[in-house]
């Protein structure tokens, strides 16, 4: 690893002042002149992309770090929970016994165990996670925080990396994120405008592909569009009628884009998950998140630059009128072991394998995290509550170091003890890997939402 300390925001010229200072003191940490020159060259290169695309697996509701990626087996029983750590393919790194497939792929992954954020409200923390800041975030109680909503990371990629109508540079799979009945802010273009909102698709395990932007059209209700084949048939046989409909009604950009995309042969080919080998579809998992991960791979293959896969629309579990989110205030353990953990394990490991087999993993950053973590101490409902002080993420591909842990938490998993970082820091680093650094953000009147972090990428 070249950097000896945290890298600060870069200057407009792309050179990090702190990085340059580090060059001056490299001797103290044993780096050679060649290292120093390489460091300087890297800094001067600034925007040179080292990854092409990102798949963000957004684990809405906040997964339990202590049950998945940062176990504390020596903590008291009230903290450690019922799961044991298992060895992984990366020497010295252990993960939960609920993640046996990921354990076998940990040599390709970087674990982050020192994330922290500033809110334990899903809506606010969600906005922070997706935009790097809380401007315009809405709390559970309906309060809107001051400031204009900033663009989400995918929207920035869309603004800077889009090359035309097809493929869309930014696609969101799964439902729009909600807290209660209110959609959260920060999933779209924000101050960059709705033009950079994601193109949205969803997958229903029974109905197949869903295109939310089209569901308002006459004859294209959710029921009418439910089945993928019926959707495609509708476009085959009903395009003229739909076009007339569009001429008569409000033509939003998203609506037209959705129509144009879904009727183009390239798009239809990319969206046709049924074209995949049946065994591969099963490897990803025959459930919404699994099939959305497969769709993400297809989109990356088609050229999309940023795909966000939302685990669920709502934070709440099925047992609480949600759609299976990670907000496990109660029944944390049966939900984890009977559904969520193996679903994540299966889909994420299949995604890494599939990308790797197609030669896409080297240029695609895969990142999985939620808006915060969960309380290390088990509550009085056999659950874990919101915990913003310390949580975990897993990352692979796109130059991410394999078999590596960044940051650490204390013995109870309550607070970072080493290399604490915010989601803004994490995504600043990820965007920089795409070549989106301070100068490019400045052109958009944006600033980095954090400081680039050492050690995430090789």
């Amino acid at each position: 690893m070249l950097f000896a300390g945290r890298q600060s925001r870069s200057t407009p010229s792309g050179v990090s002042r702190r990085a340059l200072l580090q060059v001056g003191s490299l001797g103290a940490v044993g780096l050679t002149l060649a290292d120093a020159l390489r460091l300087q060259a890297q800094a001067e290169e600034g925007a040179a992309p080292r990854a092409r695309s990102v798949i963000l697996l957004w684990l809405w509701g906040g997964p339990s770090q202590i049950d998945l990626f940062d176990l504390k087996p020596r903590a008291p029983v009230e903290y450690r929970g019922p799961y044991a750590p298992i060895a992984t393919r990366a020497p010295g790194i252990e993960v939960s016994e609920l993640l046996p497939r990921m354990a076998q792929r940990m040599d390709r992954c970087t674990l982050v165990r020192s994330l922290h954020t500033t809110s334990n409200d899903h809506g606010i923390a969600g906005t922070i996670g997706l935009t790097g800041g809380s401007k315009g975030a809405q709390s559970l109680g309906g309060q809107t925080l001051p400031g204009d909503v900033q663009p989400c990371h995918g929207a920035i990629a869309d603004r800077l990396l889009s090359t035309g109508a097809w493929p869309p540079a930014f696609v969101s799979l799964g439902g729009a994120l909600h807290q209660g009945k209110r959609a959260i802010t920060g999933e779209g273009g924000g101050v960059l405008g709705a033009a950079h909102d994601p193109f949205r698709l969803d997958y229903d395990i029974r109905a197949g592909l869903k295109a939310p932007q089209l569901e308002l059209a006459d004859g294209l209700t959710p029921d009418g569009l439910g089945a993928r084949q019926r959707l495609l048939d509708a476009f085959d046989h009903g395009a003229d009628a739909l076009g007339a409909h569009l001429a008569m009604h409000d033509r939003t950009r998203q609506y037209e884009q959705a129509f144009a995309l879904l009727t183009s042969p390239d798009a239809r080919a990319a969206f046709d998950v049924d074209a995949e080998d049946d065994r591969l579809r099963t490897r990803y998992g025959r459930f919404r998140f699994g099939q959305c991960c497969l769709m993400a791979r297809r989109l990356i293959e088609a050229g999309t630059r940023f795909v966000q896969v939302n685990w669920s629309s709502h934070v709440e579990p099925f047992e609480d009128t949600g759609d299976g989110g990670w907000d496990m205030h109660d029944r944390n353990f049966p939900q984890l072991q009977d559904r969520h953990a193996w679903m994540l394990d299966q889909s994420l490991s299949a995604l890494l394998d599939d990308l790797g087999e197609r030669g896409l993993l080297e240029e695609t950053i895969v990142l999985a995290l939620g808006e915060f973590g969960r309380t290390p101490k088990i509550n009085n409902k056999a659950g874990r509550d919101h915990w913003e002080h310390c949580y975990a993420a897993v990352m692979a591909g796109g130059g991410a170091r394999g078999g590596h842990v960044v940051g650490a938490s204390d013995k109870l998993g309550q607070y970072p003890t080493r290399q604490a970082m915010t989601p803004g820091d994490l995504f600043t680093t990820v965007l920089a890997q795409l070549g989106i650094t301070t100068p490019k953000l400045t052109e958009l009147n944006l600033t980095p939402s954090g400081e680039a972090v050492e050690g995430l990428f090789g």
Partner: protein, 309 residues
């Protein structure tokens, strides 16, 4: 029930009885089973359902002619009753909130299950019983004040009591309550999680899963003596115990080999066998009255119910 451990919650409880559980835990060891690997071929299985939607906790009627299970539909787990071959299925209720973990009363006339009673937020799970036609919903275990979770019911062989887990006193513990509802008796008292009770066919013992020794292991509680016996010792989690009809074996889910499989352990021999050995996820074992194992698996892609040949 004579000999049952625990205390009526409203009376402060029998400390001595709870202490007996602790002592028994310390002196147990007579029946510690080391994880073993079966040399028998894995069970051939007949697929009873084919929709592939997520399912949990199948349970056979006492006559083996009907099968209850919960299926995830949209955003809710909903209870179904199927014919023995799985072909004919019907909803048990018309509720829209989740309902699951149904078990049959010994006379086969009612189901006892967990339901989400109200869902303003964070759910509130209670145990109810219901007639097979979906009528006559009755409270079995419910807390009125603080939010708590009563779930995982298991009916005693005489049909008079229900064992279940509850968080009503601040930690997930096991309790007994009359089938008709009423005062509950606490069975366990440990800071660990105590879940998924299963009443033995002779009515003398309850098997359950607990993490008091590390990760989830299967334990036995002798209702007469109050002694607790650790039944499994494995590097993985062991959960969802289910008694064979003759009471000689327990089936359970374990990931001790790195994948969720259905295992059995002989109560006399202590022999542990992996009965499924399949690449998919195998979970929620139960037994048909004729002794054939039944469970949920995604071995064919989606989640369906399988019956051992």
């Amino acid at each position: 029930m004579k000999g049952c451990l625990g205390r009526p919650v409203s009376h402060g409880g029998s400390r001595r009885q709870l202490q007996r559980i602790g002592v028994a835990t310390v002196v147990l060891g007579a029946l510690v089973v080391q994880g073993g690997r079966s040399q028998e071929p894995p069970l051939a299985a007949q697929r009873l359902t084919s929709d592939g939607l997520y399912k949990q906790r199948p349970a056979w009627s006492p006559d083996g002619q009907q099968l209850a299970f919960a299926r995830l539909e949209g955003q809710a787990l909903l209870l179904y009753i199927a014919s023995a071959d799985g072909g004919q299925q019907r909803r048990l209720t018309s509720r829209s909130d989740s309902e699951y973990d149904a078990v049959w009363t010994p006379n086969g006339r009612r189901l006892v299950f967990s339901l989400v009673a109200t869902s303003p937020n964070q759910g509130d799970l209670d145990v109810y019983s219901i007639a097979l036609d979906g009528a006559d919903l009755q409270v079995v275990a419910k807390t009125g004040a603080a939010l708590s979770h009563e779930e995982s019911p298991s009916v005693s062989p005489d049909g008079k009591q229900v064992a279940f887990s509850s968080t009503s006193e601040g930690n997930q513990e096991l309790y007994l309550v009359p089938l008709e509802g009423g005062s509950r008796r606490r069975l366990t008292d440990d800071p660990a999680l105590d879940v998924h009770p299963a009443w033995s066919p002779d009515g003398k013992r309850i098997a359950w899963a607990t993490n008091r020794w590390g990760d989830f292991e299967i334990a036995l509680l002798d209702l007469e003596s109050g002694s607790i016996t650790r039944l499994t010792t494995s590097p993985g989690l062991d959960d969802y115990p289910a008694w064979s009809p003759d009471g000689q074996r327990l089936a359970f889910t374990s990931n001790r080999d790195g994948n969720f499989e259905i295992y059995t352990v002989g109560l006399g021999s202590g022999e542990v066998e992996n009965r499924t050995r399949d690449g998919g996820i195998d979970n929620y074992p139960c037994w048909r009255p004729d002794g054939r194992l039944t469970w949920v698996s995604d071995r064919d892609g989606g989640f369906d119910i399988y019956l051992a040949d």
